[in-house]
């Protein structure tokens, strides 16, 4: 029997097992750092990892996840993360975390050195470009605008002129059909002859004459109606032509931004962000349910076949968890703690709904409460959340695009209340935000006129309100955004530019009127030919014998 046993093989296996056991912590640490950095796009650092096999558990110390957009900040940091795992189920490739404790959580915390990786470009936060949202307050070049307007007016007047010319041409043709003076004289002569004729000749002659005259009278009546219509059309068009300079003025005012109509400032600022939230919430809700699509396996990989389980559990489950730490939110440094339970993947693989609750409070009166309940046990999932962020102090937040701080929100206080619910068919969400006592400064050298105006307007306000309502089908929800800011900005803008617009209007009208007066004067005389035609028709009609 000993002939079949290889003693050095047993020793080798034992040594390999020992080496694995001794290096497993290092392997876990390397795996977290390497794959974490790759996924995050910036450095993930870990002081140590401690994996215990029985009972199964994992303890991570000083985990730091760099914010990929701000490499001098950590987006997440925890001094200790300890997880108790179910060893038996780990053999089934199911990660069932009985208890997860995360201690010393910090978010948006500053780093001592940059956590950027060389291969990952850092995308800067774009900020807002207020120049495109508020009409420019500077006056445009008058000569250019008048030249453009004159061109526009001339083109339209020429069009009207052509229309009147076409009508005139048509009437020249019509006039040829009107009975001539000779023909009318012939009718009169025939009428006079009949007065001396016998009774029978009178009857026959009168009948024949009536037939000829009534045909011509019918034509004259028809022309009269057509003439009435044409006179009305020409009159309308001439009136329109005379009003063209003023209409062009309105159009120009609108085009150069001197109109105060239709300011949708808040929609323009928040619209994209709100749309993003809605899309994210929508895809988040949908993605929580795993869609099993049977696919043919690739070469070297088989298909996993599942069977009924006595106690089915999802692939990943955190039964209970809690965390505490600090949360840096705007100018507030809050102490945060939270609890979560039944976080599962896939969510429908577990018999309990997932729940998260987070509480945060700072030394002042700022507070945050977030509650979420995610229930995917049935095909008709039901997700809901509630967020209350109260009295959050905001300081020195740049509102301008790019790196230049041309517009700075020096101080404000934010209240933000949001709640929502999503199901397979409908989504309903409501956000109410109030920014109190905003104080903005516009940089003297860098700020645009629009930014100056925005800063001045907001500094006069006690608060800025924002209401967002999302409702309707999950596939295509309707988003309504309302704010007092639009009306205030519009009113402010109106008073700011009213003096400029009055002056602009006067200059514009004068210059344009001067340049288009000759053309319009000619156009006014254009319709006069219809008066002559009217007189002609009346004359012929009066000269006709009457029966």
């Amino acid at each position: 029997m000993t002939n079949w046993i290889r003693s050095w093989g047993i020793v080798l296996f034992a040594m390999a097992t020992l080496i694995w056991l001794l290096s497993v912590d290092w392997l876990v640490k390397r795996a977290i750092v390497t794959y974490g950095t790759e996924l995050n796009g910036a450095q993930v650092e870990l002081e140590s990892a401690d994996l215990s096999l029985w009972p199964a558990g994992l303890e991570l110390t000083n985990l730091q996840v760099t914010d990929a957009y701000h490499p001098m900040f950590n987006s997440f940091e925890a001094s200790k993360i300890s997880a108790t795992l179910d060893s038996a189920l780990l053999l089934r490739r199911q990660v069932i975390v009985e208890q997860l404790d995360v201690i010393g959580v910090r978010m948006n915390s500053p780093r001592v050195r940059s956590g950027a990786t060389n291969d990952q470009p850092i995308a800067a936060n774009a900020g807002f470009d207020f120049g495109g949202l508020i009409p420019d307050l500077s006056l445009p070049d008058m000569d250019t605008l008048v030249a453009e307007a004159q061109q526009q007016v001339s083109a339209e007047v020429a069009e009207i002129e052509k229309e009147i010319d076409d009508i005139e041409e048509r009437w020249r043709s019509n006039i040829k059909q009107v009975p001539s003076k000779d023909k009318v004289a012939e009718y009169r002569a025939r009428w006079d002859q009949l007065s001396n004729a016998s009774f029978m000749e009178k009857m026959l002659g009168a009948k024949e004459l009536k037939s000829d005259v009534s045909g011509d009278l019918k034509l004259i009546r028809s022309f009269n109606q057509q003439l009435k219509s044409d006179r009305s059309l020409i009159s309308t068009q001439i009136t329109r032509a005379k009003r063209l300079p003023n209409a062009q003025l309105d159009r120009t005012m609108q085009a150069v931004g001197l109109s105060t109509e239709n300011i949708a400032f808040v929609r323009a600022i928040t619209g994209d962000q709100v749309d993003q939230w809605v899309t994210r919430a929508k895809t988040f809700s949908e993605s929580l349910s795993s869609n099993t699509v049977v696919q043919a396996p690739s070469r070297g990989h088989g298909r996993w076949v599942t069977f009924a389980e006595d106690n089915p559990l999802p692939q990943v489950l955190i039964r209970r968890g809690q965390f505490n730490g600090a949360l840096q939110l705007a100018a507030s440094n809050m102490a945060v703690d939270g609890k979560f339970s039944n976080i599962a993947y896939p969510l429908e693989g577990y018999s309990q709904p997932a729940a998260v609750i987070i509480n945060a409070r700072d030394d002042g009166n700022a507070s945050l409460l977030f509650e979420a309940n995610i229930d995917h046990r049935q095909a008709d999932f039901s997700d809901g959340f509630n967020l209350e962020l109260m009295n959050l102090p905001i300081q020195d937040v740049s509102l301008s695009a790019g790196v230049e701080n041309s517009l700075l929100l020096e101080a404000a206080s934010l209240n933000f209340i949001a709640s929502g619910h999503a199901s397979p068919d409908t989504v309903l969400a409501n956000v109410v935000a109030k920014l109190s006592d905003p104080r903005l400064t516009a940089d003297a050298d860098l700020a645009t006129k629009s930014e100056y105006f925005l800063a001045e307007t907001l500094n006069t306000l006690d608060s800025v309100d924002l209401q967002v309502n999302v409702s309707g089908a999950l596939e295509n929800p309707v988003v309504n955004i309302a704010s007092n800011l639009d009306k205030i900005l519009a009113a402010g803008l109106k008073s700011q530019i009213s003096a400029q617009t009055t002056k602009f209007k006067q200059q514009f009208t004068d210059q344009l009127g001067e340049q288009t007066s000759v053309q319009l004067g000619t156009l006014s005389a254009k319709g006069d030919f219809l008066k002559d035609i009217q007189a002609l028709l009346n004359d012929r009609k009066a000269a006709m014998p009457s029966f």
Partner: protein, 168 residues
């Protein structure tokens, strides 16, 4: 590669019993047929280290059968899928599914179960066939080679000296 071939020839010519050599071939096949990363391969590797099977023959067998497995992968996978959906075995699979160790062994993966069962079905044939071939080689080829003039000439030459040096 040459070293491995030399080791195989050495094993054939050594005092390893034909059964030990046949077992090495079979274990190489059992490891090589399913995907190499399968959990049960760790247990078989433990056996390979503990039992006095020839490692050179095992490695050559592993390489050969891994290549063969790649060629017949689609067939093995379909066979495994069919097995896992066989109504007669449904009770067995379901009861195994409740036990963590079996889940660790990935028996419910169609390629793992398919290729493993194919390897197990081939094992008796391969074992007996290899054993017979080794016996035949030793009785006929090895004896003939050792007695032939060619062999005497080769053994007296530089190539044979080099071959012996390689063997240590």
């Amino acid at each position: 590669m040459l070293t491995l071939l030399v080791k195989v020839i050495k094993a054939l010519n050594s005092d390893y019993s034909p059964a030990q050599i046949a077992l090495a071939v079979c274990l190489g096949m059992i490891v090589g047929f399913p995907p190499l990363g399968s959990s049960h391969n760790a247990i078989i590797l433990l056996f390979v280290l503990m039992l006095r099977v020839n490692l050179g023959v095992f490695v050559v067998s592993l390489g050969l059968f891994s290549g063969l497995a790649y060629l017949v992968d689609p067939l093995s996978e379909s066979f495994g899928f069919w097995l896992l959906h066989l109504t007669a075995l449904e009770g067995l699979w379901t009861s195994l599914y409740q036990v963590s160790v079996w889940r660790l062994l990935e028996y419910n993966n169609s390629l793992v179960i398919g290729s493993f069962v194919v390897a197990m079905l081939l094992t008796p044939l391969v074992f007996l066939g290899t054993k017979v071939l080794v016996v035949q080689y030793r009785e006929q080829v090895m004896t003939w080679v050792q007695k032939s003039r060619f062999s005497v000439w080769v053994r007296s030459g530089k190539v044979f000296s080099a071959y012996q040096r390689i063997q240590g």
